[in-house]
Symmetry: C2
């Protein structure tokens, strides 16, 4: 007979206490394979609990495979050819503490971090997200736990298509859209679809993560200088590049909007050779504060030369791993031939929740709200910088989540001057970002500092600018 | 003054009706930028509702950026430089119906599909999953919406490490584990980490998805014949391959367990040259019904030559896109040099939920239950096949989710004979799978049919075997 000490004052139900006790006995081998268990009536009497309680505990053990019921004989401990239990007492060889904490504490010495990346998660509609997840998991929605379409669920692709069409002018059918777990994955997949490694031109300065990825994938990378209209297509012509990666709506990090003329030139360049393509990364088109909307380059492309890439990392949250890619028909065909067999990298549940987030209007409202939130931070930072008397020209004010503070004179030593400014700021507890970090190849130019605001509160912005004044006036 | 017809019998709150009406007016342009809205008191009187109701509607419009409040003047429609709204009336160019239904209906003509793939989702602990998601989204858990560690959250890697150590004998630290969105992604990432394309040996027959991926990634693929002990290492020696992809615990699809002797030979082969590596795909080690547990090849590897890949697609659900890869130290170093900068492909929320699923014991219980469920189906199918009088040898009975029905005599025409058997079964409404589908290169062998059971109910199994008897006796 099993003697189990039952704690009637515990929050754990009695049947669960009994179930857990027996389960442990089986796992440790104290109740070995083939051992008969007492009858539920006998054990109920012995433990002075109801028979129903014992039946529930036995039922649980039965359903989980610890015991089996042999008709007319009773319950027996199973022959657990159970891999999971094997070696359960083996000492853990590697403690969890082995690695350092997930986030390096390098930045902890800063009072204010004007990072140009990151998002403000204080205004995320967590309640809506919970509601959508709850709704989509209601009624044991089995379908969502099975494999879906490799390109992404059709309903989600339709929602993305509709959004891109309405907000960015993108022209495509859902069959040209690929949903994937983040922009890095999209570029990895795209590189695989394109096959042979190409020469990739990039704006100089540029988004360094994309640069690192292209380099690591074996692309030859050609930095192309920019002027106030955008990437210099005249330099692109002679570069030997057959692909180009651009951010035309709001160049990262310079904030330049590619001019209509330059767009025409760029599309013409791509149209001249069969294998030329443009990757348009529309990474933060959602946040624009002044002026007319800038349509996507894809919307102006009559040649089928633009591969459009977008992400929900900024518009929703970076922890939600979702990006999308719109392939021109010719590349879509290559995708179908070379990569269609890859299973989707986004869970069905996430796809469903995000689809509903679009369809039920939450996405639109969230964007409207965030535009307002960021605009307010933007205005405060703008005003503080203006009133601070800090030297230099402020730009990048029409869109995005950072400003650029640019010195008056061009020099060959921009990187060194920026380094001094960054270090002076650091001594006052402020982290700012040198434009040199974004250059693939340095150029004669005006020293420029990036000042981002997405993650800062009003008082931090004010404090930060005051610190910059102290740092740079000294 | 706005005249809004309010439906007091509607379930939609009155403030929301007003809010929605005004929002639509703004979106359509009927209320244009700069238009002043009536005072909340005035509109309340006009509509005969409480002023509080109007304040709520205005508050909502305000927070979403549709209107702005100008002190001492009132509410005004915002200058919506709002990309999202731009073109909202443009006709949808591509209707959602364009693509065919997500699942091809090809199989609908079958009464019974003995597919060797797929899982039974009837016993998934949906309630537990919901509970974990709910817990992890409680208190606006912001952290989970931000970017995490690129290799996967440390807590999840510790849980995976502990599980693999206990159940499979795998020896590793969490720093050797990469979490990613599915096994296809893992192989894509691995190929990138390994750099130059190699010659990849594969068991013949093999898992065709992996074969397709290696081929598409530019690997030379060498099919290596098997015998009853597993892959023939003598043939591997002369093949010129420098990598090999194997399923030693339960070969897919033959069900052969690699013998101890063969494992030693394989590890010795890998140890002979610096660049030789073994990819061990432990795709379904969870479902073993008889005999001693088969430890992972990785656990027996003293040389650091085994790259271990596993998935939660079978053990949890295919819609949950999560796999893991354990890199030997040397490859882990290459990962850090070449691919560590890739952001994770699994959402933080999913990582957290799965981590809790392990830590709170749900995974173990679910596996125990599923082992029982599949064992019951397995037993019924085994018994039905035995009693059916069908000719041939039944194998693959100790593990996994399918049997093999093998004819007595070797032939050079195995594929044709299998095709006839498959077609005869089709005429009786049963889908079975020819082993020829899994061969990279055909061989002289015994014709063999795969009969899977994971997704079938008891009565379907019985019905299916009866149909096979009719099909093949004729």
């Amino acid at each position: 007979m099993l003697t189990i000490s039952i704690d009637t004052s515990s929050k754990v139900p009695i049947y669960e206490q009994i179930y857990k006790y027996i389960r442990e006995e089986i796992k440790t081998g104290d109740l070995s394979c083939g051992t008969g268990l007492p009858s539920s009536r006998g054990l109920a009497q012995h433990l002075e609990v109801s028979r129903n309680t014992i039946d529930m505990a036995y039922g649980q053990l039965l359903s989980e495979g610890y015991i089996e019921s042999i008709p007319k004989k009773g319950y027996y401990v199973c022959a657990l050819e159970n891999l999971y239990l094997e070696g359960i007492h083996v000492k853990e060889p590697y403690p969890a503490q082995e690695e350092s904490s997930p986030d390096p504490v390098e930045n902890s010495s800063y009072q204010v971090d004007f990072s140009p990346s990151g998002v403000d998660m204080d205004y995320f509609p967590y309640d809506k997200w919970r509601k959508l997840i709850k709704e989509c998991l209601i009624d044991d929605n089995k379908e969502l736990f099975l494999s879906g379409k490799h390109q992404g669920d059709l309903a989600l692709r339709c929602a993305v298509q509709s959004y891109l069409h309405q907000s960015r002018g993108v022209q495509c059918s859902p069959s040209q859209i690929i949903i994937g777990a983040g922009s890095d994955y999209m570029l990895l997949l795209l590189s695989h679809v394109l096959g042979e490694k190409r020469n990739m031109a990039m704006e100089n300065p540029t988004y360094k993560q994309a640069y690192t990825i292209f380099k690591s994938l074996g692309y030859g990378v050609m930095p192309i200088s920019m002027d106030e209209q955008g990437i210099r297509v005249d330099l692109l012509e002679g570069s030997g590049a057959d692909m180009v990666y651009v951010t035309p709506s709001h160049q990262f990090p310079s904030g330049i909007v590619m001019s209509a003329n330059r767009r025409t030139q760029l599309l013409a360049w791509a149209s001249q050779k069969e294998n030329r393509y443009i990757i348009e990364d529309d990474y933060d088109s959602e946040f624009r504060y002044f002026g007319k909307p800038i349509p996507a380059l894809q919307s102006q492309d009559p040649f089928g030369k633009v591969i459009y890439v977008g992400t929900l990392s900024k518009a929703i949250a970076p922890g939600i791993r979702m990006s999308y890619m719109v392939l021109p028909e010719q590349i879509a065909e290559q995708y179908r031939a070379k990569a269609e067999f890859y299973f989707s990298t986004v869970s069905r549940i996430d796809q469903n929740v995000i689809c509903q987030f679009f369809e039920q209007g939450y996405f639109e409202r969230h964007l409207n709200r965030m535009r307002k939130v960021y605009k307010a931070k933007h205005d405060i930072l703008w005003q503080q910088l203006k009133e601070s008397g800090l030297q230099g020209h402020i730009s990048g004010e029409s869109a995005g989540l950072h400003f650029l503070l640019e010195q008056k004179d061009e020099t060959d030593h921009a990187a060194e001057i920026e380094k001094e400014l960054v270090e002076a700021a650091k001594r006052e507890g402020v982290k700012v970002y040198p434009l040199s970090e974004y250059y693939i190849r340095e150029e004669r130019r005006k020293p420029t500092i990036l000042i981002g605001f997405a993650r800062l509160k009003e008082e931090e912005i004010i404090d930060g600018v005051n610190r910059l004044v102290r740092a740079w006036r000294a």
